[in-house]
Amino acid sequence: MNLQTHESLWLDGRHTVDAPELGRICGLSSGEILELMEYGALAPLNAQPQSPVFSAGCIAPLRQAASIRGDFDLDIFTVAILLGYINRIAELERQLRALHAQVPSHQHAQREGPAVWHEAHAGRTENRARAADQE
């Protein structure tokens, strides 16, 4: 077994990517990247139209949209619409996760996850009190 160590790069706002690299990563041409910008589906971080730079956070949704494009043989305008919905779903999922985290667990529908936290020693005290009560 050949074990190789490799550092990783977060796909979020901490990093940026230029248009040719974004196109290569997502399997789109420079013209198609430009078209997505014209439709307002991709917004560059800078104001220079000659060399647009994007947040690395747009890589994952654009790759997903490009993959669906391949599967259904969609045109680039449909990809622009699709990208908007993918981003919207991701934001709604993020909001749902935030709500699940903030709402007490006993108010959730049955799901995998945390139960109500109890201090171990407090539980023992209550048990002792109950035992004393029953005696």
């Binding site: 077994m1 050949n2 074990l3 190789q4 160590t5 490799h6 550092e7 990783s8 790069l9 977060w10 796909l11 979020d12 901490r14 290569r24 990563i25 399997g27 690395a56 890589i59 994952a60 790759r63 669906i68 599967d71 259904f72 043989d73 991701a90 999922e93 993020r94 996760r97 935030a98 699940h100 985290a101 903030q102 709402v103 007490p104 667990s105 006993h106 995998e112 996850g113 945390p114 139960a115 109500v116 936290w117 109890h118 201090e119 209550e126 009190a129 109950r130 004393a132 009560d133």
Partner: protein
């Protein structure tokens, strides 16, 4: 080599035009795509339709395919002898090749076969614990390549949160004709924790309080990633209130940390001792507090003798 009837798979006649082929494929893709259908076997039907469409939508591949004598689906057949020479001069071995790969290889040879091709990208999932996300971790990732299996030790730095993605550049499939190697995309999910729920880098947990702790205030021991902490619960704490411990959440990866929130809820003893019952009876007689009052609860919580 097994014959595949691509026209039959898409349900179109052999003389179907491009538009009819595209329409037939889209109908099947809509029906069998893994994102749409959960029916067993639908994924293989989708892949079959995608393979048929990839061949028939490409004029060069379709022309090569149409040179073959029609056979029954799955029937063994021998491709024309000249194909062996044409295909073998590419970088692929001819034996055991699939029909779709053979047609793609032949079409590529006729066209711009030496254009740089980016290597295959891989998608993988990593399920890590909350503590691993906080402190960072290294996971071993098995990657299957054409030349065998490799194990990559992938460092996940502190600051990971649910749904984040990592890109491992150049660790996917080998590029061809001078093209760059593919990447690996790692999707991070957090294993549910028995105590804490994470919202990005903030942590939440349920803190049960007795009625007297909630009413009078108390110092209670609470769990944190750094070990037990003392939390001061202010007097008059109601259920659902969030008490914040600043900077005790998950590491953000920028040298900072999220916050830790105790979400309070008031619990009562399931069974009362005789003295407890007497005290609650006394409280009921004395207190004018009505939790169902529509008016300001703070005012209604004033003691009867105040």
């Amino acid at each position: 080599m097994k014959y595949k009837d691509y026209y039959a798979i898409l349900g179109v006649p052999r003389d179907a035009d491009e538009e009819a082929i595209k329409k037939a494929y889209r109908k099947l893709a809509r029906k069998y795509h893994p994102d749409v259908s959960r029916t067993p076997g639908s994924e293989s039907k989708f892949k079959e339709a995608a393979e048929a469409y990839a061949t028939l939508k490409d004029a060069a591949r379709r022309a090569a395919y149409d040179q073959l004598e029609p056979h029954g689906a799955g029937e063994e057949f021998a491709p024309p002898p000249q194909w062996r020479q044409a295909y073998a001069s590419t970088e692929h071995a001819f034996d055991d090749v699939e029909l779709a790969d053979l047609l793609a290889g032949l079409a590529a040879r006729r066209g711009a076969s030496r254009t740089p091709a980016h290597g295959h990208d891989y998608e993988a999932a990593a399920r890590i614990s909350l503590e691993e996300a906080h402190r960072g971790t290294t996971i071993n990732l098995d990657v299957m390549h054409e030349d065998g299996s490799r194990t990559l030790a992938v460092t996940i730095p502190p600051g990971a949160c649910e749904g984040q993605k990592l890109r491992l550049r150049g660790r996917g499939g080998k590029g061809r004709h001078g093209g760059s190697d593919g990447d690996i995309y790692l999707h991070i999910t957090l294993i549910p924790h028995p105590v804490w729920r994470a919202d990005r880098h903030d942590l939440y947990f349920d803190l049960a309080l007795s009625p007297w702790e909630a009413a009078l205030g108390a110092d209670v021991e609470v769990p944190s990633l750094d070990g037990p902490l003392m939390l001061t619960v202010p007097a008059g704490t109601r259920s659902g209130r969030k008490l914040r411990l600043r900077g005790r959440g998950l590491a953000t990866g920028h040298g900072q940390r999220g916050d830790l929130y105790a979400v309070t809820h008031i619990d009562v003893p399931a069974a009362l001792t005789a003295p407890e019952r007497a005290l609650f009876e006394q409280l009921r007689a004395q207190s004018r507090f009505n939790p169902r009052a529509i008016a300001n609860k703070e005012q209604s919580h004033e003691p009867a003798n105040a």
